[in-house]
């Protein structure tokens, strides 16, 4: 099996036509070019990596091939030598022998392995009778062919994450068996970031399956953030940057640094983290030993007025921290000290967190942060209702006045307290929800992706509002994958990999490029850390 790597790395195809050939692919969203003139070629029996940062155009390219987006005119596509007119109709990809596995896998947890395997067939097949015995037999044969130890009668929710991923991949490949036979094409499988939530052993199991699928003659397109994984599994890789092809590398002849250079656009210098100069500032908020979810043993000290950014690749756990600190999801252990009060993070509840002066603005704006079909008054006054309770009940007029005042202060447009929250634009909704929490004058403000889905103008206002809270003496923790935003508002940024902090950026290092670069490198940094490099943890002890 390992031979496939070196054989194909030379790039000499045994059939004349490439498996996939796309050229002049551009896509414009409202004046912004998400992709411009991209060319993309995948050889038969090749594992081809597709890399790039968030916003580089990876997802757009895949969505064009899956028929979700129509490309700008001028694009051409060939699949196994046959020209295919663009745009593709939704669902047409299957007829071409293309199969997609998305990160969320698309499995139904409460159904059995067999039912999940047959899902697309059950959805479309006519007929009055399902021969379960025969289907089970067929499933066993499919699993046996790829050396998988899956029980067709097991429920998917009882499977470990690795086996779910394996099942989703086998299913995608199995779904196109009819097309592969009918058109005599070997098929192309897209794996869109299948690995971030898998443990190391799981990843190698998944790679075994990918090689098995290549042995059947198919090509695999492997989308990932993890350069190490790309080095291990792919034959070649295409790197996108800012909507253009930054380069295509033969994996066997490429170095880790070559990939990183293409991804972020410049070579990286040896990095020496600067110690954080505390200048004897008092510590206001101290997190120590926080473990829970993906997060392992996080410790961080914050000073009044400091904005701390948390970031990392998807699955690294940074985005869980605000919820763990607020008690919105339960931590295994850890303590949080605010001023002189100490909280056990295993026991903290949203109520206790609020009493302690903590506020959380969740990322899911209309799911967790505010109720869309209730008015601005209702949404804004929710955390401070008791303060509006007079002798004769709620003082409705005072509530309206407060909403109107806060709306003016945060420049909510239109500032009509009676309007329903969902009738405002994303940016104005976010200003309302920020106002909701800032009126409580929190000592610690927790934010998760505060400007996601916020228009450019409002984005700046949200930044200003966050800086204002900090200036009023609050400590702010902001989890985000938007490096520009982190650079704009943060004094310090912690980068996570596999649940641990692997890098701390301070002062002049808090720039968009520096954060992007260190995030791309984070998995490698994490591996160093596991090997025993303790340089980072000493940095943290200062506080």
């Amino acid at each position: 099996m390992s031979s496939s790597h070196s054989d194909l790395g030379t790039g000499a195809p045994d059939t004349s036509a490439p498996a996939l050939f796309a050229e002049h692919v551009s896509k414009t969203f409202g004046g912004e070019k998400a992709l411009s003139d991209v060319a993309f070629t995948v050889a038969p029996r090749e594992v081809h990596g597709l890399l790039g940062q968030n916003g580089s155009g990876k997802s757009t390219l895949i969505k064009i091939l899956a028929g979700f987006h129509a490309p700008d005119t001028g694009a051409t596509l060939q699949v196994f030598g046959r020209p295919v007119p663009l745009p593709l109709a939704p669902g047409q990809f299957r007829g071409l022998g293309l199969a997609f596995v998305h990160q969320h896998l698309g499995l139904m947890p409460s159904l059995t392995v067999l039912e999940n395997l047959m899902l697309s067939e059950l959805a479309t097949r006519a007929g009055a009778y399902i021969n379960w015995a025969r289907e089970r037999q067929r499933a066993r044969e499919v699993f046996a062919r790829f050396d998988l130890d899956l029980d067709p009668s097991a429920k998917v929710e009882d499977l470990p994450q690795v086996e779910r991923a394996l099942l989703a991949i086998v299913r995608a490949f199995d779904d196109i068996r009819g097309e592969r036979a009918a058109h005599d094409t070997p098929g192309i499988l897209f794996l869109d970031e299948p690995t971030p939530f898998l443990p190391k052993e799981g990843v190698s199991q998944l790679f075994g399956l990918v090689r098995g699928i290549v042995d059947e003659g198919a090509s695999v397109i492997f989308v990932s953030h993890d350069v190490d994984e790309v080095l291990e599994i792919t034959d070649r890789a295409t790197i996108l940057r800012d909507g253009r092809v930054a380069g295509t590398l033969e994996t066997a002849n490429a170095l880790y640094a070559d990939f990183v250079e293409l991804i972020i656009g410049r070579r990286i210098e040896a990095f020496q983290a600067k110690a954080h100069d505390l200048r004897g500032a008092e510590v206001d908020v101290a997190v120590s030993g926080l473990t829970g979810g993906t997060v392992v043993d996080l410790s961080a000290d914050l000073h009044p007025g400091e904005v701390l950014g948390l970031t990392g690749l998807i699955g690294s756990g940074f985005d869980e921290v605000p919820y763990l600190l607020f008690g919105a999801s339960r931590a295994v252990s850890g303590t949080l000290k605010i001023h002189d009060k100490s909280y056990d993070l295993h026991d903290i509840s949203p109520q206790r967190a609020m009493e302690g002066g903590i506020a959380l603005l969740p990322g899911d704006r209309l799911g967790s942060a505010g109720v869309g079909d209730l008015t601005l008054i209702d949404n804004i006054t929710l955390p401070v209702l008791s303060s509006f309770h007079g002798l004769t009940g709620l003082k409705r007029r005072a509530m309206r006045r407060r909403t109107s005042e806060l709306g003016r202060e945060f420049d909510v447009r239109p500032n009509v307290p009676e309007r329903e929250l969902e009738s405002l634009s994303g940016g104005n909704q976010q200003k309302v929800l920020l106002a909701k929490w800032m009126q409580t004058s929190p000592s610690l403000m927790l934010l998760d992706e505060p400007t996601q889905g916020v228009d450019v103008g409002a984005r700046q206002q949200v930044f200003e509002a966050i800086r204002d809270v900090a200036e009023q003496g609050a400590a702010v923790i902001c989890a985000s994958t938007d490096y520009g935003q982190l650079a704009a508002i943060c004094d310090r940024v912690l980068i996570f990999a596999r649940g641990r902090v692997v890098r701390e950026l301070v002062g002049s290092d808090v720039t968009k490029d520096r954060i992007a670069e260190q995030t791309v490198l984070s998995l490698a940094l994490g591996n160093q850390g596991e090997a025993g490099t303790t340089g980072h943890s000493t940095e943290q002890v200062h506080g």
Binding site: A328, L382, L385, R408, P414, V416
Partner: protein, 332 residues
Amino acid sequence: MAEGTEVSAKEKGVDWLLVLEKYALILAWIALIVVFAFVAPSSFLQWPTFSSIIFGSQAVLVVLTLGLIIPLTAGDFDVSVAAVLTFSAMILAVLNAKMGLPLWQAVLACLAMGLIVGFLNAFFIIFFRIHSLIVTLGTASVIQGLILWISSSQTLSGVSPGLIDWVIVNRLFDIPLAFYYAMALGVIIWYVFEFTPIGRRLLFVGRGREVARLSGISVVRVRGVALVASSVIATLAGIINVGTTGGADPLSGLTFLLPAFAAAFLGATSIVPGRFNPLGSIIAVFFLVTGITGLNFLGVDTFVQNMFNGAALILAVSLSQLVRGRKEQGLT
């Protein structure tokens, strides 16, 4: 910067469609009265028809509906309310008429039963995370069994005449006192919904449980209180039912369930459209009762009651969907 950003609702002019939507149910009620007045002027359009039948005898349904909208607002269904009502009536009749206990002791026993049923409902719904519809369907069936057991499937009469006097016999403006009890409860619930933090919390728990939780609301407590409240109010409805009919029978109370739901959902299309609200619910009860009473006067068979209530429920829910759909279109 302050100028111009504030847009007063008045400046935009009155949105007649919204006004119409708010009062459509009242207009429909008036229309219904007018139609019956024309068709059966001699029998229908008489004050006793309204004072006794429509306002007086249906206080039970008003009280039951008012209790029901509390858990509905918090996002939980309580289909055990009609069973609790019947059980409460039967406990009262058994303790007071059969065993000779004083009325106040029997009433206390009823209220205690309401508390227990509410707690049990809340316990299974919240602690085991079972859908409220399933749990309360189960408790309703258990309670029906208990009713048949303690009553030996017999109708009981002979409760203290004091209760009957204070529910249906004594009148103010020729309307039985039961009507005023129901209105008083309506005012209390209106006050709680509109003017207390509890009412707001109830609303947030129903609309966005996660938002409520992350805003520091104890979702468990709010849902629990709502379920206990609906059970206790259902026992009050049972007590009023005994006062209205002079006894308790093991089955007839159960027929209140569908009209109560129909009135709750129909009420949610008016006054405060899109929200379960007490005033809307009360008007909805009178609308339904007027329709059924009018049809009875026309000599239509009683099975029409079921059809009328059922159709009203489906119509009400469809209307509220339409209201929502129109709003969504208005935004884009």
